[in-house]
Amino acid sequence: MLKQIIQNEWRIAWRERQLSVLWLLIAALLLFATLSGWQNFQRIQHERQEAADLMRKKWEGQGAQNPHSSAHYGTYVFKPSSILYFLDPGIDKFSGVSLRLEGHVQHGLAFAPAAEQSSLSRFGDLNTGLILQVLVPLLLLFLAFNSVQRERSSGSMRLLLAQGISIRTLLWGKILANWSVSLVLLLLVVLLGLGLSFSQGQLTQNPDVWTRFGGLLLLYAVYYLIIGMLGIQLAAAVRQPAFGLLLLLGVWVSSSIVLPKMASTWAEQRHPLLGIMQFNQQMREEREKGLNGHDPEDERSKRFEQKILAKYQVEKLSALPINYDGLLMQEDEYYGNAVWDKHFGKHYQNLQKQSQQLALTSFVNPFQALRNLSLACANTDLYQFLHFQKAAEMYRRDLIRGLNEKMAYGGSKTGDWEWKVSQKWLAERPDFNYVPPAMGWSLQQRKTEIIALASWLLLLCATLFLPWWKAARLI
């Protein structure tokens, strides 16, 4: 019985000119967006790799240097883009992609492409994610409206129910039929994506990509089922056709356009971030006055001097067998790191709170869960960005510590700023090798969204079994 209903729905949807045209249009857009997204990804990957290579070459070719000059010369690292960037590019445009690493100071990520553009960039980009998140659900809602309203107005609903079909079988049939229509689009994208990834051998290198593809597939399939159930039930519950259509369109606009913006601005103002000026100011003050506010820099260095003199049992710095400047700089570096950890930690927490707040709105608006989880699966979200920033900072610390220790123990004496290490030694410093987080880690940050999505699924299944659904509601 269910099979017949589904087949019939397919046939009718296909014959409905508007719907088949819309489906074809979306399919064409998806193919186009995915293919060009892939091209884009390759370009970006290539350019960032080239940039990173250039900076590494510069580092290795800087010649014999005083380690501290070298620490100031520093290097730049570039945020590599995740493979699934081509399906959901996420925040890449807004987050900044290059980071300068040098001694004494932690920079922020620079060169966010969107900051260089006019506000047209805020209208969004044409990418697979946009189509999958915004257009396909719209198609689902149109399908739902069509499959319920058409039968109601033509009176064939009466006939069907008179034939003895249970109302739930009928609704399920329609839901599954519509869902399968959207699944075809989804499979199209995923298969194309897999094919593209295979062609580049990216997939075989990293099994995590498999999981991420699978995750995306599951996520969108579940979301489409939710929208399919919501659409059919709403369309069936509302009798007036014009009002039903308005309601469905209203749900679509609110959930995918209005509410996300509202929720995100709300979260932003609930947990405001510091401006860069305040952030740097606070860090500077704590470095100068001490983390507790009562330990000024010069007292700290005096104490450190005494400690080192006692350790080597000498009276004067010049009598030290090592270069005291290197030790002091590293000591200062440690202190600066602790200050950064504290303030970046606060910043991280603020961002986390904003994210959590936003995640909670998924219980009102499943779209929010979809968007966040899609970013997480594609590894293009806020957490991945922060993960990168932390990884780069850890690399910076290692690099600078190596340089400072070389300065201290490499054979120079205190006050000797002309002493140089060989180019070879500098070139042997390890390169930055960023390992992006795995799928499990990404999802751990998004537990709320997963629970919200599951709740929506259960809720809509449950409403379908309410005794409220009687034949009289449908005819």
């Binding site: 508007q18 060009s36 970006i44 350019e47 940039a51 250039l54 900076m55 510069k58 730049y76 570039f78 996420g90 925040i91 445009k93 807004f94 290059s98 922020g108 620079a110 060169f111 966010a112 492409p113 969107a114 900051a115 260089e116 553009q117 006019s118 506000s119 047209l120 960039s121 805020r122 209208f123 969004g124 980009d125 044409l126 915004v134 719209l138 069509n146 309203q149 014009a242 009002f243 369109l249 606009v253 209005v258 913006k261 995100s264 601005t265 979260a267 932003e268 103002q269 971030l273 510091l274 401006g275 000026m277 305040q278 952030f279 740097n280 961002l351 994210s355 970013l375 979200d381 806020l382």
Partner: protein, 466 residues
Amino acid sequence: MVRTIFRYEFKQLLRNKVLWGMAIFLVLCSAYAIGYGRRDYQQFSNQISEVQQKQAETYQKLLPRYDSLSKLGEKAPQALKGEYGDPSMADWFYRRYATWTPSTLSALAIGQRDQQTPFQRIRMFRNVLVPELEEINNPEQLLTGNFDLGFVLVYLLPLLLIVLGFNALSHDREQGMLALVQVQGVRPAQLMRTRLFLHFLILWGMAALLITVAFAWVNADWQQWPLWMIATGLWLLFWSGILAWVNQWRQSSAFNATVLAGSWILILILLPAAVNFLNDKVHPIEPPAEFMAAARDIEYQEWERPVAQVVADFRRLRPDLSSIAIRDTQAAQIYFYNEVIMSKINLQGTNLQTTRFKRMALEKKTALFNPAYAYHTLLTQSAGSEISNYEDWFSQVKQVSTQNRDYLRSLGFNKKLVTRKELDELPVYKASLTSTNVLGNLLLMLFLCLLTWGLAAFQTRKALAL
């Protein structure tokens, strides 16, 4: 007759729950948007005034030292003279900032304000091609976008117009009133036009109310009010034209709703996205790694070069300054290096700006097919929060930076001590934001209105045969 239709349509609309639901929705959204914009602007301007306050504080803190330098002159103790009396050190101690302060109107159209660092330090050793600091943001929030009044006007207003008018003709036909109306001597097109005009007036009126309240609430510049009203009117008129056109296809309400929802998506999502897409394809923005590497190398290598070479370079680069007498060669070195480094970096960075200009040129070119962009930039430009406004400001920052360098150099070359007088003469940024010319965008919108109404008129003539 038109008056009769008007009166009775209005009466019916007032009794229509959809209209009231919409009005409440619009008012709530706008109230939230304005409230959000206001708070956002508050945070923004707090940051700015903090920066300005810091500059004033620094100045106050420095005053006693420079006052005593004025009093003692060359007889001042070496510590004071060497540290504070030196021009380049004074430049370092007296932290001066140029601040970007879009008007309060930018609370209603945030534009690109949230993505830019709204202040830049004015100092000699500074690569002025790129901002020194990056503003801290939540990139996911930036991706989602702001909920300001601009968003409500650009996105939601046309949507409400569609909700009101998608069945401006099909409703009567489907419900069976149309035949009777026609027999009374009313042409369908006339009925539809009157209705759409009424919807237009209602929404424009609502928008006027919202804009007025918003202007008063955020204390915006009332001179921009007519511009916002006209632009919003044109935006609504453009959409009325589309509605008139689609309604005359004489299809069912459901068909109209689908097509109109489709055009809304096309105009507000797909077209802008397509232009961004095209721009990314033709003029991709990536971090200018080569420039960054080159600039760093210049800074490092220049200090290693012999002074004579640098002086020669300097004279070549600044022929206007070649005749200047240099009394203090040693102190002047620093300025030579500085000038040479900046010029070389500037030379490297010429490509940097061009990508941005090319992108903007492309955006302008495609604006003809992109009415949402035309309207939105009109709002952001009038609020001074568009990237072009930022560019304007940034070029002013560059000018002040150059003034600063020149002034410090003139002190340094002449071995002048920085005293209170010189301190007060150090160049500071004075806000002088110019308004952008929005006439082009207005004309564009007018043209687009004519286009859609032209289409509608054409359709009427075709339908008249029926």
